[in-house]
Symmetry: C2
Subunit: 450 residues, 2 copies
């Protein structure tokens, strides 16, 4: 069912475009989904891309321009007149249309809207452009099936027939009063099972979830996921129904935020993809590397203070990577557990004291196991027991402190409104490196060199 | 719209249960969603939980036992007779029912199925129990609305009315032939817009996605997300329609696999939550810590070979954390970019050589920036230029090698069927630590001490 893409097919497509062999192209693409045509388009220049789009039906073109990568779309749109773009935009949902227009310069945006034949759609899109990307208003679409509470089933079915022209996928029928204030929803099932004369007021369900236009996108996504909603109505501050958000948009929001978390954890400062330009990739990665570098230089300066001790016991240097790496691993584990727990938080929050208590118990247990092995090892390879004691007890403190730091940092970040996933990133690793060094040389100073 | 949970309310609930004040409980829970009752249940013992469930309507109880944590459910079920559980199970979708029964011992599973009043549902559940959790068959539900291709619209509407009893949410109508072989789907919109006499064969869309029962769950989820499908039909090897998977189940699969990736990246070996027992958390975290520890010990042994050099230039030790941390950061960044790119892979794969080439360019660029800063710093704080040269050139090699290692490792893991996210975890950090040390002392040996 899915199309397997081959280099051979791609070559045939290129040749067919250059030879104007539209019959071959048409028959090839006719049976393909927009999502499968996309990867082929990515391999072509915008001139050839245009040639293919001109052969496709408008619905497929609509899906393609909705799903295509932003930069490619901007390039491609240069090949078309505003009027042609308006025709594509007419074919897609109002929310996707607004998202696309949002990426264009204001001038072309206005031109395209002015050329749209469906004036109702043009109005919808203009309205949606007013909302920020990261709120419910920016996610919603205007395509809705609405029934008035004072209608009966027959009137409603007639109205559904009329409205269904604009709505390809029928989700739910929303019920409103005379002032368009959202009252509830009606399942198609109830409509189908009910008598023609039955009043909507007797059928509809008033106990429904809705969100206001200004609600944060991520919260909308989490809400929809929590209550397993396929769509959710959006109301304005007066309670009037203004749009609906469907699960596919909510899924995209959740996916994006997961990708952001992973970037935060791995120290990549802006959203990049592996196939972005070298320059963009480099800039996205450099900031955290430089922070890590300064951490390392700070550590070097700190150790400089202990140069006399290092000259006395050079073997101390051997265990520096063990100490810093273990601190880093423990810190990342702890913070990622807290981050996940913050993300899934529903219900009673645990008190932070209880959290710390449990984290400390885990650290004591794991610290004990690791330190025992390390202590034995240090002696087995012939170092004096005192060095084993220094390494093992420093390691024990590091495991405990890194656990606590890894637990507290995301909680604090979350409290002050910063993405807590940053706490599992290079920042915590750098902090733990420094902490580990301080503890190691501190313990050594106390136990060994005093 | 969402219920705010307070300690005060919880106390009131507990008191009401103990005082058998069912009127208060009923009125409190009546207006709450199952998802909001759950966190309250988690704070109660199973005896009190049972008291509340007995007061709720069966639909809410159905949603509660579907969404409740597995361990809590097992505990709770001990309070009920198989017959009572069968009544709850009757209220939920067949896929959720099978998932729940799958967590029970075979004996109670059979008892509950035997007590189910709806024999069709019992048959469905028994059938679903045959499938593995991680394939399409294990995700699908049996509730479907089916139309035969030789019916007309009127017959179909009558059939929808009959079948809709079992299907709360109406997704799509699936069209089959006389042998139940899936032919296509029909939107409700088309049914509503068409004439009563129109044949289904003229209306249905034959160009649809479907999956076979044995398809991997994650692939199903990715497919549904790629093509924005709300539901997908499942067929057996003969092409017969046997069930459907809805987007909410697919979202759960994708969410779980994202959590697994994060665990792999942070070195947590089994799925745990922050509020699991200390013992469970400790066991989940220990394996990777021990691997990291052995890495550290190996590093210590390796550095032991360079003891004479360290005695000569103790300042070399100062820059060990800088080298290992930078290697770790670069490696994690590189591998996470590859992991994300593997996950989003649609279309032409880039050749690995091209990947490595670009990664190396980025590494050269970033390596140059970092090493210049480090070189200046080392001299500014008063070390000899030769040490600065050793540190800077070792760092440069580490950045380059860690980038390449971070790129190759996930590609290899993916090739041999291991979750590539493991490559962003403690394993790569440990490997990079060792690599960093080897390079640092190697370069020092060449440039400085020879």
């Amino acid at each position: 069912m899915q199309y397997e893409l081959t280099e051979e097919f791609l070559e045939k497509v290129k040749d067919a475009i250059d030879a104007q062999n539209d019959a071959f192209l048409k028959s090839s693409f006719d049976e393909m989904y927009a999502e499968d045509i996309l990867p082929i388009l990515y391999e072509l220049d915008s001139h050839r891309q245009k040639h293919i789009l001109n052969l496709l039906d408008s619905e497929t073109v609509g899906r393609i321009i909705t799903n295509i990568d932003k930069d490619t779309r901007l390039q491609l749109f240069k090949e078309f007149e505003p009027k042609e773009i308006a025709r594509f935009i007419n074919e897609i949902y109002s929310d996707d249309a607004a998202d696309i227009l949002n990426t264009l310069p204001i001038k072309s945006r206005e031109e395209i809207i002015a050329h749209m034949e469906d004036k109702e759609m043009a109005g919808h899109v203009s309205e949606l452009l007013r909302y920020d990307d990261d709120c419910a208003g920016g996610l919603m679409a205007k395509e809705l099936i609405i029934a008035r509470v004072d209608w009966n089933v027959k009137q409603t079915i007639e109205e559904i027939r009329r409205q269904a022209e604009n709505v390809e996928k029928l989700y739910t029928i929303y019920v409103v009063d005379q002032n368009d204030v959202l009252l509830g929803r009606l399942s198609l099932k109830k409509i189908i099972l009910a008598n023609d004369k039955t009043k909507i007021s007797e059928l509809y369900e008033d106990d429904i979830h809705s969100v206001e236009t200004y609600m944060d996108s991520q919260e909308v996504g989490e809400l929809m996921q929590k209550y397993d909603l396929e769509s959710i109505p959006v109301v304005n501050v007066q309670g009037k129904l203004v749009g609906r958000i469907t699960i596919d948009d909510a899924v995209d929001v959740l996916k994006e935020s997961a990708a952001e978390d992973i970037n935060a954890m791995t120290g990549i400062s802006v959203a990049v993809e592996e196939d972005d330009t070298v320059w963009k990739l480099s800039r996205a990665r450099l900031p955290w590397l430089i922070i890590g570098m300064f951490g390392g230089l700070l550590g070097a300066t700190f150790m400089g203070l202990f140069e006399p001790q290092l000259i006395l016991v050079p073997a101390m240097a051997f265990f520096i990577p063990l100490i810093t790496a273990t601190g880093g691993n423990v810190g990342v584990q702890s913070s990622s557990l807290i981050v996940q727990s913050l993300a899934n938080n529903d219900g009673f929050e645990e008190s932070n004291l209880k959290r710390l208590w449990r984290v400390s118990l885990v650290a004591l247990l794991n610290g004990f196991v690791i330190c025992s092995i390390v202590f034995v090892f240090v002696m087995v390879i012939g170092h004096p027991p005192k060095l084993g004691l220094v390494v093992a007890s420093a390691l024990f403190c590091v495991v405990l402190l890194a656990s606590i730091l890894g637990t507290i940092t995301p909680l604090i970040l979350d409290k002050i409104g910063i993405n807590p996933a940053l706490a599992s990133g290079p920042f915590i690793t750098t902090a733990n490196d420094l902490l580990g060094l301080a503890v190691y040389f501190g313990v050594a100073h106390l136990l060994y060199l005093s």
